[in-house]
Amino acid sequence: MKKGILLIAVALLLASSLVAVGCPRPVLEEPPVEPIRLGAVNPLGDITGRQSAQGMKLAVAEINAAGGILGRPLELIVMDDEFSPAVGAAAIEKLATVHEVDIFIGGMASGVHLAQIPILAKHGRVTVWIGAASHLVEAAIAALPDHDWYFHLHPWDYQQVEGTVEGWAAIVEKFPQIRLDRMFVAYEEGAFGAAGFAISRALFADVTIEGESFTSAVFGGGDFRAVLRHAKEFNPDAFVWVGFDPDALGMMVQAKEIGFAPPVFLGTPPGWPVGFGEIPLSEAVWLYGMWSPELKGVSPEAAHFWWAFIEKFGEEPATYFAPLGYVNVKFVAAGIERAGTLERGPLIEALREVRFEDTAVGWPLTIAPSRLIRHQGFTRQMILQWQGGRQEVIWPFEVATAEPIFPFPRWEDR
């Protein structure tokens, strides 16, 4: 009996010392020029997080090749959050205390970021985040006594919808044959879809909206037939599905088999399956996005990024998180350059003033207050359409790469 306690005690001792050893504190070396350290936390197991980290690396490599900033090289430390709040939070703590990074960047899932906010707040270092679109995150940031150090580049979920409201109004005005009076929203039942639906409902004031949830193929669902049938009965001007990448094929196939071809067929996944554009069903499907590969024909910066990324990593950027990661580093670098120092106050001031006329995602970037926080970057997303296997930009018209195909061609004609 006593032996048991003893063993437990020894085990605890071992475990605690292992933990202590396992997370060594840095050996203090004095390099000739102290680098500027950027700490990023991404879900590296996922294509979005991995390519976003690659985008950051590309930017860092380019900046260092050009001599760094303020004469100092950039050093990028990327950690995995495994989509787990506990892991993501610990990663921030590690970057702050072990690697002693100067600035936090990166990010993706809102659930993970919520857990990171208290720790980021505690350190209060400048943070430039490119993910976590949930308005819950915005509320959590705004609830902090001071959040001047926080910059959010990704539009908030309600801003994304606001953008589409504006965009659709413009499209309807420019192309009178397109109507948008009745909308049916099929949304996945998790946080992503539920928020998307609730916000759409609130913001599309002049549109009659019906909605219904479905189980995403990510969670073993993928049977959308009931939802699609209800949508067909509703006979909407636009059918919008708010789900994930793996839902795309099922949506198209199952809509086709019941002959559901509304005038506007729109999907809003974070990315699309490999080769989606090549299947005939994709033609004239609308989508929302922060970015499109086709912008390389419009924006020099997007073109530069596209080819540099392919050259460096041997693969194409698959989602907008790749260019966004690139923009993340470029933005931070521009701010430091402008401030001429890493001191918090001037740096925040400088970042606020950073202006890009063009970025890797093909948009201008400026910082302005959002509904609740002071430093918000991008606020809009584009309206695009699959045409001939490419994601053509329809709106904003300034960066448009194509005219819309309307109405949605009948399934039989493909």
Partner: protein, 310 residues
């Protein structure tokens, strides 16, 4: 000899308590996570000692999380009290469903506890007004103002309480009751053991622990959502830790949690991409090489050596 043992004992306790003073903030975070998984693993093992394999740890964890957050938000209960309430709520739910599910045995019990987890997810997701639905709820501030050392000590206290509970279960009549039930229920009944009473007791006690751990988790990260709070990770990871360390003993879960926790941290450092594949491989290898877990295998070796020498 005896003195020496107490010295080790005191040293370990003081090391564990003073950990935040000599370790960096990141190790404190990692240790906090490991300690909470340790409590879950040990609580799972306690029920397993009675022969019942539960796959419902996440269910009680989630109930604890949600109760904590909702009582804290709606009734302005203090964070610590709300965690206690989280544990109580999990206990009450366990009592009610235990009356039914503890009639089941083996894989049927396992599957039903797992199914219950999903049922709670669906309920929480659909009761939008109360729970915030699929999006979840936020707490405006983190417990102890986010002081990692305080959170560590709180988690340590819970882990130690779980270890003590486990040792109480091992050293009193409960131990005899549970092992007898696990060995053969009919024989246990005929020895005068009220099987149902003991299983229900173990089920409720372990659910309270799981609920409390869930409550701390929610207070530590200041939010709840169906996907995060009822995540199957909180069932599977503790299960793996317990089985790797060695089931049916306090030490097994402690070693398993420490081992797997530290391993995960190392792997994450060594290979940012693909470390989970190695993690799975380690699990497979460990179970093939040490089918009785680390503690079980070592104990077996000791017994063998003793027999060989005598």
């Amino acid at each position: 000899m005896r003195n020496w043992r107490y010295i080790v004992y005191i040293v370990v306790i003081s090391l564990a308590i003073s950990f935040p003073f000599y370790a960096g903030v990141h190790p404190i975070h990692v240790a906090t996570t490991i300690l909470s998984l340790l409590a879950l693993a040990l609580s799972w093992d306690i029920l397993l000692r009675g022969g019942q394999l539960s796959l419902g740890v996440s269910a009680f964890f989630g109930i604890g999380s949600y109760t904590t957050v909702l009582t804290h938000l709606n009734w302005e209960v203090s964070p610590l009290l709300s965690i206690v309430l989280g544990g109580l709520a999990a206990g009450v739910v366990a009592l009610v469903i235990g009356l039914a599910v503890l009639r089941l045995r083996g894989l049927y019990f396992a599957i039903v506890t797992l199914a219950l987890t999903f049922i709670f997810i669906v309920i929480v997701r659909n009761l939008t007004d109360l729970t915030g639905g699929a999006i979840g709820k936020l707490i405006p501030s983190v417990i102890f103002g986010g002081d990692p050392a305080m959170i560590y000590w709180l988690t340590l206290a819970i882990a130690v309480a779980t270890i003590i509970t486990s040792e109480i279960f091992q050293k009193t009549r409960i131990h005899f009751a549970l092992t007898s039930i696990r060995n053969n229920e009919i024989a246990a009944k005929s020895s005068g053991i009220d099987i149902f009473k003991y299983l229900l007791f173990a089920f409720v006690v372990t659910a309270v622990i799981q609920g409390v751990v869930g409550g701390v988790h929610a207070q530590r990260f200041a939010f709840v959502s169906p996907e995060e709070s009822f995540s199957l990770t909180f069932t599977i990871l503790p299960l793996a830790m317990c089985l790797l360390g060695g089931s049916f003993s306090t030490l097994g879960s402690v070693i398993g949690a420490g081992g797997l926790g530290v391993l995960a941290e190392y792997l994450r450092l060594m290979m940012p991409r693909g470390h989970l594949a190695i993690y799975g491989l380690v699990m497979v290898m460990a179970i093939l090489l040490m089918p009785k877990g680390i503690v079980g295998t070592i104990r077996e070796q000791l017994v063998r050596r003793k027999t060989a020498s005598s």
